[in-house]
Amino acid sequence: MEYVIEMLNIRKEFPGIVANDNITLQVKPGEIHALLGENGAGKSTLMNVLFGLYQPEKGEIKVKGEPVNITDPNVANQLGIGMVHQHFMLVDTFTVTENIILGMEPKKGSKVDIKKAEKEVQEISERYGLRVDPTAKIQDISVGMQQRVEILKTLYRGADILIFDEPTAVLTPQEIHELIQIMRTLISEGKSIILITHKLKEIMEVCDRCTVIRKGEGIGTVNVSETTTNELASLMVGREVSFTTEKEAAQPKEDILHIRNLRVKDVRGVEMVKNLDLDVKAGEIVGIAGVDGNGQSELIEAIAGLRKSEAGSISLKGNDITNLSPRNVTETGVSHIPQDRHKFGLVLDFPIGENMVLQTYYKEPYSKNGILNYKEIYKKAKGLIEEYDVRTPSEYTLARALSGGNQQKAIIGREMDRVPDLLIAAQPTRGLDVGAIEFIHKKLIEARDQGKAVLLLSFELDEIINVSDRIAVMFDGHIVANVKPEETTEQELGLLMAGSKKQEEGEL
């Protein structure tokens, strides 16, 4: 048996578009096979075909050499195909075990034999190195842990071929590291893995082979050991992509953001920002590096007026903005690309056009005497959509219907257009493909070159190093080091983020 899975010349159409055309994917037993493509290239469609959610118009699927007809996910399960979804399908109030056995509970008479199930879950989790507490409730465990439950679910159902749909999108760097270990263990236990991703680094790190699709078409399959990230990127995007962002040296001017002795508590009342000082000057990008949960989110929410500061001061161009309302902060000259675009950045059930005036809807010309001027609103939206290359059928389309990258471009367009003094960008490229990332980085640098102060928060170290003019490392609620990107390495930043002190420098 040469291949466990063969998808040959698959074609899948939807009304008006061809989502997959002539794609061939062949997975060898015991390999980690990457499926690479931009947002919207057709990766998920292809996997949904394999998982039986869609029926292909053309093409053949073979599992372990046998032609099969996968009519629904139950058939896929029986064939040993399991899917670890990007958005977890878990019941929050159930325990780990209850979630895993859901739908195929072991019975003792008419009752669920929970003791037996817990033992089984324990066994599988030990065998594959997936540490979980079988009795913990889903709502009480971390995102990384929830993902392991999803993996266990597929293993419990006897899957040999596991599909991971962008599994690292929701994880912290530490959790990503653990996931990679888990994937290696699974392979050594004889499983095969298809990894859907657009992160080139991960492919280079764990995958054996990689199939690339672009705009619905199969481009080809390459051996990872014989390729480079540059080659993969150009295969995926269809043109050369530059990874090092081109930019002139920064010319910082006067202080724009000035934070002194700031203290902020989180929802639980735990102090997350502890006596923090930070300055950002006009014409520079300051990157905040740090492991998630060291107070970065609270810091940004405090600046934006979304969270109360307990002590200390925040000023913008010399004006005190500590504990102003979000509207007053915005009007003082702050734009904010929020970390969670669905929760904060957009009203998903509004048309994308109405989202473009989310902070300015009450001002002329969008509103006059309390009445909205839709003509002006949509004129503005249309302009921004064109300028920022937001791909949407029209400005009347609901924001919900846009892909993540286009939603993000819309937010960036809206925030940059307000001509702020300070632009806060929190994880502006999370979940986006290299093409969109390149675009967003360019726009951030453009803002800097126009003399704006930019505060960038990111968990991607290469993003921080590439884009920032100065890096402030945050650990345990403090800025523990200020370093120049050209004078540091990922290793050094990693150590600083983990709390080790910078040796040679006295100034913090």
């Binding site: 979000p326 009203v347 109405e354």
Partner: protein, 346 residues
């Protein structure tokens, strides 16, 4: 976009048809003739001018209570207290109508305004508690219904009258009754239905055209994004409840100044407010939908009174109405069927 609008119209229509079919089957099962039953229903609602007039009388408060529920719903709130807000609106309108002596041009608007203010105040309480202390609005507004019912009874008995069961009739200067319409139809038809239509228009206008409406809808969809955008979420919750309550209060005024001209002591709820929930649901929580939903509801309720003439017990109509709501509420099933048959047709 076309598809969703298409479904929003088709699904209620199919629901109604399915409800009528189910009703026919039940009539058959119990040995009644569904054709003569439905014919009697139709005649009872539109058979002559009197019946048509009475149907519109019934529809009028339903429009406003439906609008009240729909308005709150669109801003993410469940106003189950419309019933109580109808009561206080009714009482306020009648009180102003009885106690004051003013020219009509002042008296009538003042009475309606009093109803809106009273309903708004009644809505303010659950709105405020929700905004300030995160108390669930459903619990508070249910309790406010009982408080309204018994407070109104007490005020009628011991404040407005001397232990009577009903108030005097409102002054002619505060009445919505129209001699012209009465002579035309011999029914209780009054000018209130114009006010109800204005109410529905106002709901549409506030939500879709005004800056405040943009905020209210935004808060209804996503409180976090609204806060991020600089809107005052708490204030919008209170405002939404007050506006919703004001619509409900005016629904009460329709009863007090139009249909009855007085208010009597009630032993239980009028159900205008509770039926408003169904009206809003039938209408997809839009203004126009509420008007149409109210028409359907009013027609069925009034027409039902005539069904015993065909030998069908009028309780059966309540079953039909319940079935229609059931099918609308489970519109997911109809939607699923439509989409599935569309898929297979390809």
């Amino acid at each position: 976009m076309f598809a969703s609008r298409f479904y929003n119209i088709v699904i209620p229509v199919i629901s109604v048809i399915l409800g009528l079919i189910a009703g026919a089957i039940i009539m058959l099962l119990f040995g009644y003739n569904p054709i003569s039953g439905y014919a009697a229903l139709w005649n009872g609602a539109f058979g002559d001018l009197y019946f048509t007039g009475e149907t519109i009388v019934k529809v009028t408060p339903y429009i406003l209570s439906g609008v009240a529920v729909a308005f709150a719903f669109r801003t993410g709130l469940f106003n189950i207290g419309v019933e109580g807000q109808v009561f206080v609106g009714w009482l306020a309108a009648v009180w102003v109508g009885v106690a004051l002596d003013l020219p009509m041009i002042l008296h009538l608007p003042l009475a309606i305004l009093a109803a809106a203010v009273a309903g708004g105040l009644w809505g303010f309480v659950p709105g405020f508690l929700k905004a300030k202390f995160r108390v669930h609005e459903v619990i508070v507004s249910i309790m406010m219904n009982y408080i309204a019912l018994y407070t109104c009874n007490a005020i009628i008995r011991s404040v407005i009258t001397d232990n009577e069961d009903k108030t005097e009739n409102v002054a002619e200067s505060a009445s919505l009754a129209s001699e012209w319409l009465t002579q035309l139809t011999f029914s209780r038809l009054h000018y209130g239905f114009l006010i109800a239509l204005i109410g529905a228009f106002l709901m549409w206008f506030i939500l879709e055209k005004t800056t405040k409406g943009y905020e209210l809808r935004s808060v209804g969809f996503n409180q976090n994004a609204s806060k991020y955008a600089g809107m005052n979420v708490d204030r919008n919750i209170v405002l939404s409840f007050v506006i919703s309550g004001a619509f409900a209060g005016v629904a009460g005024a329709m009863q007090g100044l139009g249909t009855f001209q007085f208010m009597s002591v009630n032993s239980g709820f009028t159900n205008i407010g509770f039926d408003g929930i169904a009206v809003a649901l039938l209408g997809g929580n839009t203004a126009l939908g509420s008007v149409l939903g109210a028409f359907l509801f009013g027609t069925l309720k009034v027409g039902a009174l005539n069904m015993p003439s065909a030998g069908v017990p009028k309780e059966l109509v309540d079953i039909v109405v319940a079935l229609i709501i059931f099918f609308v509420a489970s519109s997911y099933i109809i939607r699923w069927f439509l989409q599935r048959s569309k898929k297979e047709g390809k």
